[in-house]
Structures are given as structure tokens and as C-alpha cells.
């Protein structure tokens, strides 16, 4: 059983704000807060990467760019351009979270899925690339295939979901999703669990199931929740 403190828990968390309506003031406060908590990463849409880079540079927190969000069905060239733009406009440490083209996956075009991820890995130029497979929309067999494709294409993480609730069939990520992915990928390949993880108990169950990272907009509540549980009296 993993034992964990707040100081350790923050290292698992990519604190996330992808709201289309968030203005510069909200994004600045959000990024500052992530830096203060020393979260592993702060995940934003590409347009906000330069702002995030400016704020977190020199701190423990990295910038995480959401590429191909949230549908992942745009042309490969466009995802590559987004990736390169983020690389060029970020002077802090950067990671790329890119959505897999599930339409190709479900049409059996595994060659195209793999080639696209590989091109993004190249465009990321040595930076960590996490491939979002949107597990809530997939069957168990498709989750397995998607995870293996991400690994074969040279990505570093399988990420469970965008957390975008608008898609038909969306549901929160579960420890079972993490265990299934863990059971088929190699030891070096990591898992980022994201999507509907809002409580401390959920986050701990996800970590116990084998996730190395958690994407959430509720990082502060999750960490403060752990503090309350550890300091619980009578």
C-alpha cells in the first residue's frame, strides 16, 4: 500500500483549467496558485502557454499544453503545428497532452493513429508526450489497442480522458481504467488519469491503481482534503 503526504501528492497533479471563457486575470490567478502549491504541472490551452511559461519559469511547476483538444480529429499537420507553436512559445519546462484520433481508431486505421502520434513525439523534440485515449468512449478492447498504439508510437504516457463532459457517453475515469491500461503497457510507459477526479479518495484510489499523474481542475481541494484526513482528530 502506498503511503502519501501532501508534499508527495502535489507531485502527482497537473492542475488544469481549459475553460474557453477564462480571461487573463482568471488564468493568471490559477497559474500562480498552481505554482504556489508546487503542483507537478499546470495544464492550459495553447493560447495560454506563453502566459503560463512566464509565470512558472524557474519554479517546480511545468507547463502542460492541451493539443488537439478536445476532439482530436483535426488533421495531423494541425496537431503538429500546435505542438511546435507551444514548444517555440514556452521557455519553461513543457509537456504535451495530445488527443488521439479516435475516429481513425474506431475505423481500424491503426497505421494513421500511430504515424500521427509519432510525428507529434518528433515535434515535441524530447519533451514528454501524453496520449489521451478518451477511455470513457471506448470498449475495453479499444482501450487496450489505443494504449498499445500510444506506446508503439514512442509516447511516454497514456492519459485516460480529456475530461470534456460534452461527449456522448462521457464518464469519470476509474481505478479499473488505470488497472486495465497498466496491465497491457510496459514498465517504462506511465499513466495519467484525468476526467472527473475531484475528491481526495478518488485521487488516492487512482494512484493506488498505478497512475503516475492525475489531471484535475480540483488539485487544491484534493490536496487540502488529504491534509484534513491526515490531521483528523477523534
Amino acid at each position: 500500500m502506498v503511503k502519501i503526504t501532501e508534499k508527495e501528492l502535489v507531485k502527482y497533479i497537473d492542475q488544469t483549467n481549459l475553460k474557453v471563457e477564462a480571461d487573463e486575470k482568471e488564468m493568471t490567478q490559477f497559474i500562480e496558485e498552481a505554482k504556489k502549491y508546487e503542483f507537478y504541472g499546470v495544464a492550459v490551452m495553447p493560447y495560454w502557454v506563453p502566459l503560463a511559461s512566464k509565470i512558472v519559469k524557474g519554479s517546480k511547476t511545468k507547463v502542460v499544453a492541451a493539443v488537439g483538444f478536445p476532439s482530436g480529429t483535426m488533421p495531423t499537420e494541425s496537431k503538429v503545428e500546435e505542438t511546435k507553436w507551444c514548444v517555440e512559445n514556452c521557455s519553461a519546462d513543457l509537456e504535451i497532452d495530445v488527443v488521439m484520433n479516435l475516429s481513425w481508431l474506431r475505423s481500424g486505421r491503426y497505421d494513421l493513429v500511430r504515424k500521427e502520434i509519432n510525428e507529434i513525439v518528433k515535434a515535441a523534440d524530447g519533451r514528454i508526450v501524453k496520449v489521451i485515449i478518451e477511455a470513457p468512449l471506448l470498449s475495453k478492447e479499444e482501450i487496450v489497442i489505443a494504449s498499445l498504439l500510444a506506446e508503439a508510437a514512442g509516447a511516454h504516457f497514456v492519459k485516460t480522458s480529456t475530461g470534456f463532459k460534452g461527449f456522448h457517453g462521457w464518464r469519470p475515469t476509474t481505478p479499473d481504467d488505470v488497472r486495465l491500461i497498466r496491465s497491457v503497457i510496459g514498465e517504462k510507459m506511465k499513466i495519467k488519469a484525468a476526467g472527473g477526479i475531484k475528491t481526495t479518495a478518488h485521487a488516492l484510489a487512482i494512484i493506488e491503481a498505478g497512475a503516475s499523474r492525475i489531471g484535475t481542475s480540483s488539485g487544491v481541494q484534493i490536496v487540502e482534503g488529504l491534509r484534513r484526513l491526515r490531521e483528523w482528530k477523534r
Binding site: 481549459l18 474557453v20 471563457e21 477564462a22 480571461d23 487573463e24 486575470k25 488564468m27 490551452m45 495553447p46 493560447y47 495560454w48 483538444f69 478536445p70 476532439s71 482530436g72 480529429t73 483535426m74 488533421p75 499537420e77 494541425s78 503545428e81 500546435e82 507553436w85 512559445n89 488527443v99 484520433n101 479516435l102 475516429s103 481513425w104 481508431l105 474506431r106 475505423s107 494513421l112 478518451e134 468512449l137 471506448l138 470534456f164 463532459k165 460534452g166 461527449f167 456522448h168
Partner: protein, 229 residues
């Protein structure tokens, strides 16, 4: 009295679920073709444009590609490249998510630059350039302001919202209509799922209706029209 003419060529629809297989899309377009009278345009995932082109060739339905959809917070350079790519591929229409974050931050110049550059990149090559300002997240004043900006920058249509929970209020269409008149078309989009909502949007000034549940609206309309004395 409600007649077919009022609903004729009014509807944009789409199959943009990220996990849409080729078979799913073929079945959907086949069903849409039974309602060619009502449907103006169909938006599909970019990787499936070839299916739409093939099935809608010689049909009176436009092919739509989306950009920065439903989240508009992408760098404008990426949007412009994608617009050019889609124009070269031969789409009839693009639906582009505006940079709402920039607009809400008071960076109106960036928003104007973004829309103008997209328009100049594809002008003359597309039938329709539609910009999505997310009216449900805007005040009345902001809706009027962004309506004027979109018209001035040369886009041909305002698509009020992307859906996915970003839903249009009847009032939004009215404000836009009062602001832009006939200079730009208005597409009411987001949360329109039945005949009553459709007609309310049209009364408020919407030229088009976008819906992901078109067949249920058409069936409702046909049944209702049959029963009008």
C-alpha cells in the same frame, strides 16, 4: 400557418463525436439525404471529409469543417493554417471557435486580427465563413459588440454557440439581429432540440438552426404540419 417553406434549407447538422467510425458517418449522411429539403450543411470530423465529399457530390448540401471547436483558445496562426487547408480540400463552410479568452481579457484587437486573417485567408474560396462567439457566456452589450466586430471583419455568418452545453438563448438571436441586420447571417446553435425551440429562434431572427438532433425535429415538424387545420 407553419409550412415546409419556413423550415426549408434552414438546418445545419453534424456528426462530430470524436469516436465516429466511417460506418457511423456513412449511415448518418444517408439519413440526412432523406431530408435534403431541410438540411443546408453537414459538419464532419476533418479525417472524414472525404466521405462527406463523396456522398454529397451533386447534392444540395454543403460540407462543413470545424476549427478550434468547441474550444477557441488556440493561437490564431494555427486557425489560419487550418482554414487554408480546409479551403484547399474543397469544403464549403468553416465553423470557427473565436478566442473568447482574448475577448474576455479586453484584447479586442487580437480577436479582430484573428477573424480578419481567417477571412482573408479563405475569402472567395468558401461559401460560408462562420464564427462562434459563445453568446451564452456574454452580456447583452458584449453580444452586440462581438456581432459588430464579426460583421466588420468580413465573416459571413455568426454561429452563436458550439453546443456541448454552450446553449443559445432566444434573446441572443434578437440582439444579434438588431445589431447586424442582414449584413451577416445568424445561425442559432446550442441546445435546439425540438420544433418549438426552432421556431422561437427563427422568430427571433435566426437564418439558420444548428442541431445535432435534426431527425427528431423534422419528424415532429412533419407530424405537426399534417395536423394543422
Amino acid at each position: 400557418m407553419l409550412t415546409r417553406d419556413i423550415l426549408k434549407k434552414r438546418f445545419d447538422t453534424s456528426l462530430l463525436d470524436p469516436n465516429t467510425s466511417d460506418k457511423d458517418l456513412i449511415d448518418f449522411i444517408e439519413k440526412c439525404l432523406q431530408y435534403e429539403d431541410y438540411i443546408v450543411a453537414i459538419a464532419v470530423n476533418a479525417n472524414q471529409l472525404d466521405i462527406a465529399f463523396r456522398m454529397l457530390k451533386n447534392k444540395d448540401i454543403d460540407v462543413v469543417a470545424t476549427i478550434a471547436y468547441p474550444l477557441g483558445t488556440l493561437p490564431l496562426e494555427v486557425k489560419v493554417s487550418l482554414a487554408k487547408r480546409f479551403a484547399d480540400l474543397g469544403v464549403d463552410q468553416i465553423d470557427v471557435g473565436m478566442n473568447l479568452g482574448a475577448f474576455k481579457s479586453g484584447n479586442k484587437d487580437y480577436v479582430k486580427k484573428e477573424i480578419s486573417e481567417i477571412v482573408s485567408a479563405v475569402k472567395g474560396k468558401l461559401k460560408t465563413i462562420s464564427i462562434i462567439p459563445y453568446t451564452c457566456m456574454l452580456t447583452k452589450e458584449e453580444i452586440a459588440e462581438i456581432g459588430r466586430i464579426i460583421a466588420e471583419c468580413g465573416a459571413t455568418m455568426i454561429k452563436t454557440n458550439p453546443g456541448y452545453g454552450y446553449n443559445t438563448r432566444v434573446e441572443d438571436d434578437k440582439i444579434l439581429k438588431e445589431t447586424v441586420g442582414n449584413s451577416v447571417k445568424i445561425m442559432a446553435s446550442g441546445g435546439v432540440r425540438n420544433l418549438e425551440q426552432t421556431l422561437a429562434m427563427i422568430e427571433a431572427g435566426a437564418d439558420r438552426i444548428a442541431t445535432s438532433t435534426p431527425f427528431q425535429i423534422f419528424e415532429e415538424a412533419e407530424k405537426t404540419m399534417e395536423m394543422l387545420a
